[in-house]
């Protein structure tokens, strides 16, 4: 942008000169411009490198945060401690880094086994080893759930384009990532927004955005391939989930048609007149207008499942 402005101003200068001077000046200018452009390019590259270093630094910090002892202690029912790190990861990571990181975590979940030498004289692993082993796998899985759950929608769309529609190297990983996203979002909504009175327009807006994110995966042309199957724990039950069961039913937490109807009822149950504190008529009108728009959006979603 800056270099193009310089070129335009330099060209304006040329117009006022005589032909020869103009030709000479143009030659000189071209040389000066080229030199300037080179410097600008170098500066831009330098800035990009700095930006990328900062971004990568943020990425490392976000992973470190997720893996901090205090955040990996209590992973169930939801690894709440990992959420902040997962959100930062989502902002900092490219889609390629995200899918590769997910792939790496899944590989560890699948392949890492306890050392045979740790087995007792009966050939069994002691309880402490089993617990630590399963917990390590849950740490990896919890990272996938929290990252996928809070991953920005535009990047999710990019992953779908690159890995699923584009036949990417990590297509299977992308299906698992999307299943994790639906599971996590469903749980998040059940445990937070649906569990509370939906009595502010912002809460309603957030609910619609997050439910909409699940909705698009549930309706996708590849919906039957979106599933997860983690069966490499020693003690705990396998984690198996798919968007739809064999009978075509969805689980309660991501049953979009049912959930949209529930949201529609909440407008009347919880969000009557916007539930705003009177005092600003402008704000009150804004809120009421937004409620009307949001309700229309939800009605469209309800209709889309009929």
């Amino acid at each position: 942008m800056k270099s193009s402005l310089i070129i335009i101003s330099l060209l304006s200068f040329v117009v006022g000169c005589d032909a020869i001077d103009a030709m000479k000046a143009t030659k000189d200018m071209k040389s000066a411009t080229n030199s300037m452009n080179e410097k600008m390019d170098k500066t831009n590259i330098g800035i990009q490198e700095t930006n990328d270093s900062v971004r990568k630094q943020k990425l490392i910090l976000s992973i470190n945060d997720m893996l901090d002892d205090k955040n990996t202690k209590d992973l169930e029912p939801v690894a709440i401690g990992m959420i902040a790190g997962a959100e930062e990861f989502g902002k900092a990571a490219t889609t390629e880094e995200t899918i590769k990181y997910t792939y790496k975590l899944l590989l560890e979940i699948k392949d890492v086994k306890p050392n045979e030498a740790l087995k007792d004289t009966n050939g069994n692993y002691p309880a402490s080893v089993v617990e630590a082993y399963d917990h390590k796998k849950m740490i990896n899985l919890s990272q996938i759930y929290t990252i996928a759950g809070f991953y920005p929608q535009d990047k999710v769309d990019q992953i779908i384009n690159e890995q699923i529609y584009g036949g990417g190297r990590y297509q299977r990983t992308a299906y698992i990532f999307l299943m994790a996203r639906v599971q996590f979002l469903g749980t998040y909504l059940q445990e937070t927004l649906f569990a509370e009175p939906l009595d502010t327009v912002e809460a309603m807006r957030e609910l619609i955005v997050r439910l909409g994110a699940m909705d698009s995966i549930l309706k996708s042309p590849f919906k039957d391939k979106v599933k997860i199957n983690i069966d490499t724990f020693i003690a705990r039950d396998p984690i198996v989930a798919s968007l739809y069961d064999d009978a075509g039913k969805m689980e309660d937490s991501w049953n979009a048609p049912k959930l949209w109807k529930k949201v529609l009822k909440r407008f009347d149950q919880d969000l009557k007149d916007g539930n705003v504190v009177e005092g600003s008529s402008v704000k009150t009108t804004d809120v009421q207008n937004e409620i009307t728009q949001l309700k229309a959006t939800v009605q469209t979603y309800v209709g889309s499942w009929q």
């Binding site: 939801v78 599971q183 749980t187 059940q190 445990e191 009175p197 689980e251 309660d252 529930k262």
Partner: protein, 214 residues
């Protein structure tokens, strides 16, 4: 209003004694460390009514990959002989009941607003009119009540008189009681949370166990 009419209306409102209305007789088994009662006594203004054990079970909720234990529910009704132990028949048979009680012992902390929302969702799943006066008062009592804490219990005691007036005493986990009156919808509505159309798969499993009556 004449004094006699006022007295009569007060009598109806306080048909269930206002304090310590429900006593559960200890049983021989437990669920998640919670003793399951054999029967219960519901103290009304005029008498103590014996309630039969209908069933009990664990309310779980799937949270991501874990099945979280929420509470142990115990249901008691006054006329076990007329109670129909089927999905379709259970709520219908409540028409033959005059009294009942629900005893919930929480295994997980749940704030009062969340308890209210879960009850409301279950009432909604059973097409209970959420604008019914008694239902509104009941949900309000739940919302304003204490948060459900791990190991604490709440009681919902219900009695219906010959004129169809229903009195409910909601005792929250802090032991504070609130009396609510209403019509048949209140009686049927509250019990349909556990015996009617399940609002989610966790309640579906719980209903199945309660209907078995083991």
């Amino acid at each position: 209003m004449k004094l006699s009419a006022l007295f009569l209306s007060l009598l109806l409102v306080t048909q269930i004694a206002s304090a310590g209305v429900l006593t559960i007789e200890k049983g021989n088994r437990s669920i998640e460390g919670v003793n399951v009662g054999k029967s219960a006594d519901l103290v009304t203004i005029s008498s103590t009514q014996k309630l039969d054990y209908i069933g009990a079970g664990l309310r779980t909720k799937k949270v991501l990959v874990a099945n979280v234990k929420v509470y142990v529910a115990q249901i008691f009704l006054d006329n076990i002989g007329k109670f129909v132990r089927t999905d379709a028949g259970a709520v219908k048979s409540l028409a033959d009941m005059k009294a009942g009680a629900i005893h919930l012992t929480f295994l997980r902390g749940v704030d009062a607003a969340t308890v209210q929302v879960s009850f409301r969702d279950a009432l909604d799943a059973n097409n209970i009119d959420l604008n019914n006066k008694g239902i509104v008062a009941f949900l309000s009592a739940v919302k304003e009540g204490a948060d459900a804490k791990d190991g604490k219990s709440m009681n919902i005691s219900l009695a219906k008189d010959d004129k169809g007036v229903v009195t409910v005493v909601y005792e929250n986990t802090a032991g504070v009681e609130k009396t609510i009156t209403g019509d048949e919808t209140l009686f049927k509505g509250i019990l349909s949370i556990w015996l009617g159309e399940p609002a989610d798969s966790g309640l579906e499993t719980l209903r199945a166990v309660i209907l078995k009556g083991e």
